[in-house]
C-alpha cells in the first residue's frame, strides 16, 4: 500500500507526542530507562521490541493509564503525568487506544460497544446522530453486518476491527495500537495493516503502533523505533533502521521471515 506521508515530509511539523527522558520501573525491575520519542502530526511510528521490553508500558503511560517514575510525556501540548483526572479525561477524548486483546465489553453488543463512549461524552447527541456515528465507524472497518452481534460471536480479526471502530467513533487525533496483528493469521494481519493505513489517511491521525511483527512494521510505519534494554537504540525509516550489521537489530529480521 502506498504511503502518503513520509519521514522527510513531517520533520518540520508539530510533534503531537513528545517524550523526554522517560523512566518507569516495577519494583526492582527497570523497564524504561530514559526513553525519548517524537511523533509528528499524521505520522505512523512503529515501536519494535521483544516481549517484556516495555512497549505496552510506553503507550499506557501516553494514555495516562500508568504513571511514569520521571520524565515528560507531552501529548497535544499537555504533560500527561501532571494532569488531574478531569484534564486527563478531556485529553483522552482525543486519544484512541486499540488493545491487544481488543478489550470489547463482553456484556454488550457491537452497537452498544460503539455507543458506549459517545453516550457518555456527547450527551447532547440525538439517537439518530448516534446511530449515524455507529454506522460510519462500522463502515470504516467494513463490519456493518456485525452490529447486533456480541463480541463472543466474532472472530479475532473482527474483534480487532471493532476495537478500532470503537476508538474511531470519538474522532481521535492520536491512535495507539497495542500489538494489532498479534494472534491473527497472515491474511487478516494484512487486512489490519491496511486498516491502520486507511485510518491514518482518512482521519490524519498520529499513531504509535506497538508490534514485534516486521510485516506490520514495514506496511504501516512511516518510522520505526527499536526499543531495547529500556531505550530506543535506533529510529528512522524501516529500510534505514535495518541497514545495519548490529546483531541486536538483524536478529529481528532473521526470525521474522520477511523479504
Amino acid at each position: 500500500m502506498h504511503k502518503k506521508i513520509r519521514h522527510t515530509d513531517i520533520q518540520d511539523q508539530h510533534a503531537d507526542i513528545m517524550i523526554r527522558d522517560l523512566h518507569k520501573s516495577f519494583g526492582a525491575n527497570s523497564v524504561l530507562k530514559g526513553v525519548n520519542l517524537d511523533v509528528f502530526r499524521g505520522e505512523n511510528v512503529v515501536v519494535l521490541g521483544r516481549s517484556g521490553t516495555g512497549k505496552s508500558v510506553l503507550i499506557k503511560i501516553i494514555a495516562g493509564l500508568l504513571k511514569p517514575d520521571s520524565g515528560t510525556v507531552i501529548v497535544l501540548d499537555k504533560n500527561v503525568p501532571e494532569l488531574d483526572d478531569k484534564e486527563l479525561l478531556q485529553l483522552r477524548l482525543k486519544i484512541g487506544f486499540s488493545f491487544q486483546s481488543s478489550a470489547l465489553y463482553d456484556s454488550m453488543t457491537v452497537k452498544e460497544n460503539l455507543e458506549f463512549p459517545l453516550l457518555r461524552n456527547s450527551r447532547n447527541l440525538t439517537k439518530a446522530a448516534i446511530n449515524t456515528h455507529v454506522e460510519e465507524a462500522l463502515d470504516a472497518v467494513g463490519l456493518q453486518q456485525t452490529i447486533h452481534q456480541y463480541p463472543s460471536e466474532l472472530s479475532g480479526g473482527q474483534r480487532k476491527r471493532i476495537g478500532i471502530a470503537r476508538t474511531l467513533i470519538m474522532r481521535p487525533l492520536i491512535m495507539l495500537y497495542d500489538e494489532p496483528t498479534a494472534g491473527l493469521d497472515p491474511v487478516t494481519s494484512v487486512e489490519i495493516n491496511n486498516l491502520i493505513n486507511e485510518v491514518q489517511e482518512r482521519y490524519n491521525t498520529s499513531s504509535i503502533i506497538i508490534t514485534h511483527d516486521l510485516t506490520c512494521a514495514k506496511a504501516t510505519g512511516d518510522r520505526v523505533a527499536i526499543l531495547l534494554d529500556g531505550s530506543f537504540i535506533r529510529t528512522g525509516r524501516f529500510e534505514e533502521v535495518f541497514a545495519t550489521r548490529d546483531e541486536r537489530i538483524t536478529s529481528f529480521y532473521e526470525y521474522n521471515f520477511i523479504d
Binding site: 526492582a28 499506557k60 495516562g64 477524548l93 487506544f97 488493545f99 478489550a103 458506549f116 461524552n121
Partner: protein, 287 residues
C-alpha cells in the same frame, strides 16, 4: 467522643498508608524490602487503607449524572435473578425452624406461641442474615468474578481511555443495586419463610391463614422492621463494595479472577457476621 473514634482510626490508617508509600519510595534504592511490623500485618493495613480509599471514592462518585440503565440492569441481576434461590431457601428455613421449635414449646404447653416465636426469629435475625449470606455467595462472587475478568482482559482500561468513568459505571451502579435490592429480598424472604412456617403449623393444627399471620405479626415491632431494614442496607453495601473492590483490583490473569471471586465471598460473609453482632448490640440498646 463517639464521633472521634472513627475519625481517629481513619487518620491512623491514612498515616500508616502514607508511611507504607514512603517506605516503598525509599526501598526502590535499597532493596530488599523490610517491613514496618511484619509482612502480613503490613499487607493487612495496606488493604484496609485501600478499601477505605475505595469506599471514600464511592461516596465522591455518588453524585449525578447517574448510570440509570446500568443501575436498573444490576437491580434486575441482584434482585430478580436471586429470587429462585431465595424462595427455595426461605421456604425451607420457615418449615425447618418451625418443625425444630415445636417439640421444645410443646414441653411447656406453649405451642400457641409458635407463630410469634417464628416471626420474631425470622424478622429479627434469620431473614436479614440468610438473605445476606445467600447474596454474599451468589451476588458477591458474581461481582468479583465479572469485574475481575473485565480488569484482566483490559475492559476497565478500555473504559478509562475512552474518556468514561469506569468506577461510576461499574462500581457505583453495583453497590447501589446491592444496597437497594437486599432489603427487598429480605422482606420477600421473611414472607416466604412465614408461608413455610404456616404450612408446617397447618399440618399439625387447624389454623387459618389470617389467624396465623395476626398472631405472628402481633409481636413484631417497628424497631424490628426498621433495624432489619437498616441492617440489610448495610449488608448490601458491604457485599457490593467488597465484591467490587476485589474484582476492580484483580491481577494475574484467570487465577486472579478466581481469587477475586473467592475473596469477595469469604470477606463479605465475615463482614456480614461482624456487622450482625454490632447491629444486635446497637438494637438492644433501644429495646
Amino acid at each position: 467522643m463517639g464521633k472521634k473514634i472513627p475519625f481517629f482510626y481513619n487518620n491512623l490508617f491514612k498515616i500508616y498508608g502514607t508511611f507504607l508509600g514512603l517506605q516503598q519510595v525509599f526501598m526502590k534504592s535499597n532493596p530488599p524490602r523490610t517491613y514496618i511490623i511484619s509482612q502480613k500485618l503490613d499487607a493487612f493495613f495496606s488493604d484496609v487503607y485501600a478499601i477505605m480509599n475505595f469506599i471514600g471514592r464511592f461516596f465522591r462518585e455518588l453524585g449525578p449524572p447517574y448510570e440509570w440503565r446500568e443501575i436498573i440492569r444490576q437491580c434486575y441481576m441482584v434482585g430478580w435473578k436471586s429470587l429462585p434461590l431465595i424462595s427455595v431457601t426461605s421456604f425451607v428455613v420457615g418449615i425447618v425452624f418451625t418443625k425444630q421449635s415445636r417439640p421444645s414449646l410443646s414441653e411447656f404447653g406453649a405451642t400457641s406461641w409458635l407463630p410469634s416465636l417464628v416471626a420474631i426469629a425470622i424478622f429479627r435475625a434469620l431473614a436479614p442474615l440468610v438473605t445476606a449470606l445467600i447474596a454474599a455467595g451468589k451476588v458477591g462472587s458474581n461481582i468479583g468474578a465479572e469485574l475481575g475478568s473485565m480488569r484482566v482482559t483490559e475492559q476497565i482500561d478500555a473504559m478509562e481511555v475512552s474518556a468514561t468513568n469506569p468506577f461510576k459505571f461499574l462500581v457505583v451502579s453495583r453497590v447501589l443495586a446491592t444496597s437497594c435490592m437486599l432489603p427487598v429480598l429480605m422482606f420477600y424472604m421473611a414472607f416466604i419463610s412465614m408461608l413455610g412456617a404456616y404450612l408446617n403449623i397447618l399440618v399439625n393444627e387447624d389454623t387459618s391463614f389470617s389467624a396465623f399471620f395476626i398472631k405472628a405479626l402481633d409481636k413484631i415491632t417497628f424497631l424490628d422492621l426498621f433495624s432489619s431494614l437498616i441492617k440489610t442496607i448495610v449488608f448490601g453495601f458491604s457485599i457490593g463494595i467488597i465484591g467490587c473492590y476485589q474484582g476492580y483490583h484483580a491481577t494475574q490473569g484467570t487465577q486472579g479472577v478466581g481469587r477475586a471471586a473467592n475473596f469477595a465471598v469469604v470477606t463479605s460473609m465475615f463482614v456480614v457476621f461482624i456487622e450482625e453482632i454490632i447491629a444486635v448490640q446497637i438494637t438492644n440498646w433501644f429495646r
